[in-house]
């Protein structure tokens, strides 16, 4: 069967998992990786198990457990999520697996939706796990069945690293056959293998080093690396992963004659690199983010005493930050080989364009929570926060810090421990609280932090595309499950002040915050109201509001809430509510002149 379908990179990767016979797939949502599990859990017919785990470490361990039994497993996350799972990762490399296991980690060069741009290939070097780096969505799909086989052959997990432009790129995908690989789960006891006490670990470490050569040979001859020697030229370009398609386009546009090596798998193909050195006197290495290939290239040249000159990030030809593109590659190639490039002249727009940052949706309950929080705690209070839609509250003045997932309660504790005199009120979402916030609350209780902890419980993981979490009573595939009682959980962690409030009820929310502020010790306020986007999809409709222009004096109090549904009409000098209004009522509660009223039918 041969079919071509137009699909998103992440959907193609999900298809690769099905073609390769993945049996257990776990993950934690994070842009740009989330659609892989979303696609698998939405499939009607399934002969695999799929879950959203509570965090990446948990997800990694679930997939590892499955692979110990001999079945094929996959874990998905984004680059920063791998930091959370780094602990099991490093030891899993020693332990290895029986069934093929793929660790999918989506990188985000240019921080399209991330707090940093770390390069997962470094974890591959560090852990000694091989890594596949696709250059197109098609290759991404095709690499998955291969990765299962590679993993089984060497009994080690394989890291698979798409980037934003692969995960969120679309192209026509040639579908492949679905494997008939049917391993049954069977856990075989082998304490020397599965119990990493020191005596066993010291044996597995040399084993891990010992299989490296075999992995290198295998990958060197894989289809993911491609060398084209150009005998008419003394120069060469080496490009890896996605950078290889940009480099190819740049070379085509420049009409450049050069040898070209595309690298799609690590450890790098040393034999092919040496062959290139035989032909070339200068080689430019193009790769996104860290100079991983470049550094290896230099080591290889030194080892064989080749006189070849290696250019790349060193010398400043290729930037070490942000994502690459054809223009940057064209410039790098031009500079490195002294070719004149016409750089398109881009005139600065003379009109001043208003910035359009993302904002909380019209009617988002987080806005209401933050409004009450700011009113009770005051502008000078300290507001540590976390990662989710609610981070957008930075425009409301209630997000002072955002370090990492689950880092808000702990940072708040640290600020308190340091002796900060201002009140401290941190915020964290429901999914993030389940992710790694629980530990922070436990620590705050145990170590007596006098802080307020606000859990913005919108009943879903909204930012990454509305995935379920343990608070919803639904699994990834929509099956009903135990709904975790957030209040009981907090009390179980030792918190004595735990109150739940509806943030749309502005007065009640302020009252709860006042009590929490006065409470000695960690106080938990749960503000619970469903995400409006999700609620509307589920059919919830509220009566929208309008401005009574007779009563409006144009004080701008409502406009300053930053709700996309409220505009200020410069001509009439009055507020105006547009079609985006979802009827949350926050603006109505804010207006001191009772000028905002429900639309009368």
């Amino acid at each position: 069967m041969s079919t071509r379908e137009y699909m998103l990179g992440n959907v193609a990767i999900a298809r690769g998992i099905v073609e390769g016979g993945g049996k257990v797939i776990s993950g934690y949502p994070g842009t740009p990786s989330s659609e892989i599990v979303d696609t698998l859990s939405a499939m009607k017919e399934r002969d695999f198990y799929v879950e959203w785990s509570v965090n990446e470490k948990v997800a990694m361990e679930v997939a590892a457990g499955a692979a110990m039994t001999g079945v094929r497993s996959v874990v998905t996350m984004k680059h920063v999520g791998l930091n959370v799972a780094a602990d099991p990762l490093m030891t899993l490399a020693y332990m290895g697996v029986k069934g093929g296991m793929i660790i999918i980690v989506a990188d985000d060069p240019a921080c399209h939706s991330s707090q940093n741009e770390q390069d997962t290939r470094k974890y591959s070097e560090f852990s000694l796990m091989p890594c596949l780096d696709p250059s197109t969505p098609q290759e991404a799909k095709d690499m998955i069945p291969y990765a299962f086989e590679l993993s089984e052959k060497f009994e080690i997990p394989v890291i698979f690293r798409p980037t934003t432009r692969i995960s969120h790129g679309k192209s026509e995908i040639e579908l492949g056959a679905i494997t008939d690989h049917k391993a049954e789960a069977k856990f075989e006891k082998d304490t020397s293998r599965w119990v990493m006490v020191p005596a066993n670990a010291v044996i597995r470490h040399p084993h891990l080093l010992g299989i490296q050569e075999g992995i290198m040979e295998e990958l060197e001859n894989s289809p993911w690396n491609e060398l084209t020697i150009n005998e008419n030229s003394k120069i060469g370009v080496i490009a890896s992963g996605l950078a290889s398609v940009y480099a190819k386009e740049a070379m085509e546009n420049l009409g450049l004659e050069a040898s070209f090596l595309k690298i799609g798998a690590y450890p790098v193909p040393e034999g092919l690199i040496k062959k290139m050195y035989e032909q070339c006197d200068t080689v430019l290495v193009i790769e996104e983010l860290e100079p991983i290939v470049e550094d290896r290239c230099k080591v290889i040249a030194k080892d064989i005493e080749s006189p070849v000159k290696i250019l790349g990030k060193t010398g400043g030809y290729v930037p070490r930050i942000s994502e690459l593109n054809t223009d940057k590659c064209t410039k790098a190639i031009g500079d490195a080989f002294g070719i004149e490039v016409d750089v398109p002249e881009i005139a600065e727009p003379e009109l001043e364009l208003p910035p359009r940052p993302p904002a909380l949706c019209a009617g988002c309950s987080h806005r209401a929570t933050y409004h009450a929080m700011l009113k009770v705690f005051g502008k000078r209070a300290v507001f540590p926060s976390d990662i989710g839609c609610y981070t957008l509250g930075v425009q409301n003045g209630t997000v002072d810090t955002t370090l990492c997932m689950g880092g808000s309660i702990t940072v708040a504790s640290g600020i308190y421990d340091a002796g900060e005199k201002q009140p401290i009120c941190c915020s964290i979402g429901d999914s993030t609280f389940f992710h790694t916030g629980i530990n922070g609350l436990l620590n705050a209780v145990y170590n007596k932090s006098n802080i307020t902890i606000t859990i913005l419980d919108n009943r879903i993981t909204a930012m990454t595309g509305h995935q379920p979490n343990p608070g919803m009573g639904l699994t990834s595939t929509g099956e009903p499950t135990k709904e975790i009682d957030m209040e009981l959980l907090c009390r179980g962690l030792g918190a004595e002040f735990v109150e739940t409030v509806d943030p749309y009820d502005v007065k009640a929310t302020e009252e709860v915050f006042k009590r929490a502020k006065d409470f000695e010790g960690p106080a938990v306020v749960i503000t619970r109201q469903a995400c409006v986007i999700h609620a509307r999809r589920a059919g919830v409709r509220r009566i929208p509001f309008q401005v009574d222009t007779e009563k409006c004096i144009g004080c701008r109090m409502c406009v300053n809430l930053g709700c996309p549904a409220i505009e200020f009409d410069k001509e009439t000098k009055k507020a105006h509510i547009n079609a985006m209004c979802t009827g949350c009522g926050l603006c109505s509660a804010t207006c001191k002149f009772d000028a905002i009223v429900e639309v009368q039918k």
């Binding site: 939706s113 386009e249 546009n253 064209t330 364009l353 208003p354 359009r356 425009q395 990454t464």
Partner: protein
């Protein structure tokens, strides 16, 4: 002045939630059905909450999805300011198709930044490019739903794409919610008629 690596390069810009992805999907899938290679890149995540978004669609392309600067044959803007924001991708002889209905960002509604007049934006763009500007949102409303604004613009751009109109229209019927097919077909046709 399209790049050598692609037959037709299209940039679609707009505001999160306006339906840029559906617009690019209709075009991308149509091109694939006609046997062409397609590479597309889209904005997900953070920018979707009302932020500025840009999608690239490259028809007849086997390489990367990102269009080089001044490489696009056409810029399809679902919002006026978002036309100007991404103008650097458009080739000197490229054409701009834009919706004249503004969506104010919170920076404007809260008075932190001014919003240039739509006329001044159109004037500015006309200095350097061929501009086809009209209120697609109003036209969509007339066809039956403001939501169909993106399909009005797909109709307009269909005059330039190396893809058959019937193929595009079939995809529209296939990809919009069944109840809204008539509205969307009307929206597509009104949009198409905006270009002589």
């Amino acid at each position: 002045m399209s790049s050598k690596a692609s037959e037709f390069d299209l940039v679609i810009s707009g505001v999160g939630g306006q339906g840029t992805i559906l617009a690019s999907d209709i075009i991308g899938r149509s091109a694939v059905l006609e046997g062409k290679g397609v590479r597309a890149a889209e904005t997900h995540g953070m920018a979707q909450r009302g932020g500025s978004v840009v999608n690239h669609v490259r028809i007849g392309c086997e390489l990367g999805s990102m269009i080089p600067l001044k490489g696009a044959d056409c810029l399809l803007a679902l919002e006026p300011v978002e036309a100007l924001r991404y103008i650097e991708f458009l080739a000197d002889d490229g054409v701009i198709i834009m919706n004249t209905e503004s969506v104010y960002p919170v920076t404007v509604t809260t008075g932190k930044a001014p919003y240039p007049s739509v006329d001044s934006i159109v004037e500015k763009l006309k200095e350097t490019h061929r501009v086809i500007a009209f209120n697609a949102t109003e036209m969509a409303a007339k066809a039956g739903s403001r939501q169909a604004m993106n399909v009005v613009l797909v109709g307009a751009v269909s005059n330039f794409l190396p893809v058959k109109t019937e193929t595009l229209l079939e995809r529209v019927k296939e990809m919009v919610p069944p109840k809204t097919i008539d509205t969307n077909v009307k929206a597509f046709e009104t949009g198409r008629s905006m270009v002589e």
